[in-house]
Amino acid sequence: MTYTLGKNQLDSIENVLKKDLIDLGVQCVFLIDMAGNIIADLHQAEIIHDIYSLAALAAGNFGAVNAMAKIIGENEFSLLFHKGKNENIHFSKVSQDFLLITIFGNHISLGFLRLKVNEVIEKVKNTIEPS
């Protein structure tokens, strides 16, 4: 299966990610599909990460955790959070095929981030899969 996203869709997704997450101080945000492809990535000017490897590992990690969920009788764990000393990473499922990943420092509270991520997911979902 191959899928295509047009310029308008990608512009709209990037605008949402920028306004609702990057402008609030999130270090890095990227939208990927479950195959590990990168759909959009935005980051603060000074941040340089190997996003292709991050995306591949994130998709694998999310898949592995979902497989664990099934073993214990859950349908899925729709969000994941890893805490570091200075940086944290948050994974949230957008839909069956897409995943939103945010990397953020300790100056942003997890609760606030989750709130914003939930808003972003609704907007992104409408752009990728219009009802």
Partner: protein
Amino acid sequence: MAFINQKNKEVQVKIVYYGPGRGGKTTNLEYVYKKFNHRIKTEMVTIKTQGDRTLFFDFLPFNIGKIKGYDVKIQLYTVPGQVKYNATRALVLRGVDGIVFVADAMTVRKEKNILSLNNLYENLEFYKKDIKQIPLVMQYNKMDLAEQGIPLLSFENLEQMLNSDIKAPAFKASALKGINVVQTMKKIIYMTFISLQKELE
């Protein structure tokens, strides 16, 4: 699940190296990484066990330049070959666009090749993909071991055993010595692109 980005004129394609454990999948990627080091900007990602076996996958992103005006990014993956890691193998196959089946030409590994190919068939079926429809290249690895007098299955034998039904292009190879590693990769990239062509027009 190839992704076509119309904004950046970029295509991302996922190619998975599949096959029995200790067959040479990781060695294929390591050779590509070494050979094209100047063109690969990032490190190869490997998730290994303590015993140096692939636990989850290896990953190598690879930019091959432009095709039909699109910047083409190939993502090469391997799966863990050991039978017990089927859950992770199935995860890595998600969204696959092209497959290289790395068979082990040693006579003692005959059964392991067949089991692994059957397992690939089943895992693709889970994603509603047909092994005969998806771009696939067969690679018969470890052919260099003949020099050391190790009994090997012949090319014809391997073809008959693994490829008589699928009829995929096949290469005799030595991943360790780099024989036909690049040719295998070029072939699978070419075949995957042929299958994407309609979407790029």
